[in-house]
Amino acid sequence: MGELLNRLSRAADLPEEILARLSQVVLLGDAILTAEGHLGVLRCEPQQVVFRSRSGLVQISGEGLCICRIDEQELEVRGQIAQVELLREGGNS
C-alpha cells in the first residue's frame, strides 16, 4: 500500500508527505522545531521532549526545551536544541 502511494504521488507530482500522511519535522536553526502530524506527546522535560509520529518516536534533546504551542495537527518546540533523533519501533534510531 505504501509503495503504491509513493508511486502515485510521484506520478501525480504531489508531495509524498501529504499523500502518505507522513509527519513533517522542520528545524529552524537550533531554536525552533515544528512538527506537523504528531500523534501525541510522550515526554515533556526541559532537557528532553519526545513525541510520537507516524514514522516512530521523535526525541529532541537540548536545554530549556518547551512545547510552546500544540494543537491537533502541529506542535512547536522552542529552546536550545542540541539533537533530534528518530527512534524506530523496537528502539533502533
Binding site: V41, C44, D71, E72
Partner: protein, 404 residues
C-alpha cells in the same frame, strides 16, 4: 499574531496544570484543544487557551489524570463583564464624555490676531465691540453669532478692512488693519511724493495730488512720483507706490582659513579698575599664550547716585588653538552665500518683500570664493518732500495757465 488577536477578542484563560504534563498535552492535542504560551512552573505547567475551549478542558484533565486551576483571564468578554458589573464606572465615563464635550464648546480665551499691527486703543475697541456682541470667554460657542459680530466690528470701526472670527475654545479674532498712507511729516504743508530709491513702478495709488509716473516707468532716487498739485490748489500729496527694486551685495569665503579653536581650558580673574589702571584681586593673571578674552563689568555700588570711581571687571581667558581649516568648494560657496544674503538683508527696509535672488560667482580660478548677490524686492518707495519755493511757484503758474 492573528491567533492572539482572535483570542483577545473572544477571551482567553491562563491555567496551571498539575499532573503528568505530557499526558495532558497529548490528551489536549488528541481532542483538538489548541494550547499556546506553554511554560514550566516547577513540576507543573501553565498554558493559555481560548475561553470557548475551557468547557472541554475538564474532559482533557480527566483523561490525563491532571488538575487545573485558572490563573487569570483576559480579553473582551471579561472586560465587558467587568464594566457591566460596575454601573458607576459607565456613568462616570459618560459624565466625563459629556463634560469634555461641554467644556470644548465653551470659549476659554479670546485672542486678537493682527497681520498688520493695531494700536492698543484700536485693539481695545475691537475687543469691546466683540464683547458687546457676546464674544467673550466663558460663553458657549453655540450661542455666538460670529457673522453678526464680524459685521459689527467691521462697521463700527473705520480702521479695519477684514474681520474673521474662528469659533473654537481658544477663540481668535483676526482683524486686518486697512493700509493707510502716511499723513506726511509736514501735515498739511504742500509736498510731493518722491522716490526713495531707484526701481520700476509696479503699482500706484494716488490719494491726493497728481500721479507723475505710471506702472512700468523706471524711476531714480529723488524723482517725483506724485505731484502736490490737485483740485486746483497745492496739496500734501498722498499715495502708495509699489515698485520693484534691486539690492546688491558681495561676500567672499576662503577655501583655507586660519581659525581660533577654543580648547576648553580657561582662566578667570577679578580685576579692580580705577583711573590709574587695573589691579588683579582674585584669580589668575592674564596668560601670555594665545587665549581669547571675554570680560564683564560687575555692578558695583549700584544704587549710588553718583558713579563709582572704581569698576570691578571679571575676565575669562579661554585657551584657543590656531588651526588651518580647509573648506570644500561647496561649503565655501554656501558660507559665502549666507554672508552675502546677510549683507543684502541689512540694506532692506522692513516692508520690503523679496521676490527673487540671483547669485553669481566671480573669479572661479582663485582659492577664494567670491559671490555677488542681487536681490529683487517689492516695496513702497514713496517718501514726502516738502515743496521748495521754486517748485511751488512753478505749480502756481501751472494752475494759472488756461487749460489746453
Amino acid at each position: 499574531m492573528a491567533l492572539r488577536l482572535q483570542a483577545l477578542v473572544q477571551g482567553e484563560v491562563r491555567i496551571r496544570v498539575t499532573g503528568d504534563r505530557a499526558a495532558f498535552l497529548s490528551a489536549a492535542a488528541e481532542r483538538g484543544l489548541p494550547l499556546y504560551d506553554i511554560a514550566y512552573l516547577g513540576e507543573d505547567i501553565t498554558v493559555t487557551l481560548a475561553l470557548k475551549d475551557v468547557r472541554r478542558l475538564k474532559a482533557v484533565c480527566h483523561a490525563a489524570h491532571c488538575r487545573f486551576r485558572p490563573l487569570h483571564r483576559r480579553g473582551w468578554p471579561f472586560l465587558m463583564r467587568h464594566i457591566v458589573r460596575r454601573p458607576l464606572l459607565i456613568i462616570g465615563a459618560l459624565l466625563f464624555c459629556c463634560a469634555l464635550t461641554l467644556l470644548s464648546g465653551i470659549v476659554m480665551s479670546v485672542q486678537l490676531a493682527m497681520p498688520r499691527p493695531l494700536t492698543p486703543e484700536q485693539q481695545l475697541q475691537v475687543l469691546q465691540i466683540a464683547e458687546e456682541q457676546g464674544i467673550r470667554a466663558g460663553q458657549p460657542l453655540w450661542s455666538m453669532d460670529a457673522e453678526a459680530a464680524e459685521y459689527a466690528i467691521l462697521t463700527q470701526t473705520d480702521f479695519l478692512t477684514f474681520v474673521e472670527i474662528e469659533k473654537r475654545p481658544q477663540l481668535v479674532i483676526t482683524a486686518v488693519a486697512r493700509r493707510e498712507a502716511d499723513a506726511g511729516p509736514n501735515g498739511l504743508l504742500p509736498s510731493d511724493v518722491v522716490a526713495e530709491r531707484s526701481g520700476v513702478i509696479e503699482e500706484i495709488l494716488v490719494l491726493k495730488g497728481t500721479a507723475a509716473v505710471q506702472p512700468g516707468d523706471v524711476v531714480a532716487a529723488g524723482d517725483v512720483l506724485i505731484r502736490g498739485l490737485g483740485g486746483g490748489e497745492l496739496v500734501a500729496a498722498q499715495g502708495l507706490i509699489s515698485a520693484a527694486c534691486w539690492y546688491e551685495s558681495y561676500a567672499e569665503w576662503p577655501l583655507l582659513a586660519i581659525e581660533h579653536l577654543p580648547l576648553g581650558k580657561a582662566r578667570a580673574g577679578l580685576y579692580l579698575q580705577d583711573k590709574n589702571g587695573s589691579r588683579l584681586l582674585l584669580g589668575a593673571p592674564a596668560p601670555a599664550q594665545l587665549y581669547s578674552l571675554s570680560s564683564r563689568s560687575l555692578p558695583f555700588a549700584a544704587g549710588r547716585k553718583s558713579g563709582s570711581p572704581v569698576e570691578l571687571i571679571y575676565q575669562v581667558y579661554t585657551k584657543a588653538d590656531t588651526v588651518l581649516r580647509s573648506y570644500t568648494e561647496t561649503e565655501a560657496v554656501e558660507l559665502a552665500a549666507l554672508a552675502a544674503e546677510e549683507a543684502a538683508l541689512a540694506q532692506l527696509p522692513a516692508d520690503a518683500a523679496i521676490i527673487s535672488r540671483s547669485y553669481r560667482r566671480l573669479d572661479e580660478a582663485e582659492s577664494i570664493i567670491r559671490l555677488h548677490l542681487q536681490l529683487q524686492t517689492r516695496q513702497n518707495i514713496g517718501v514726502y518732500r516738502q515743496l521748495d519755493n521754486a517748485t511751488a511757484e512753478a505749480y502756481r503758474q501751472e494752475l494759472l495757465l488756461p487749460p489746453g
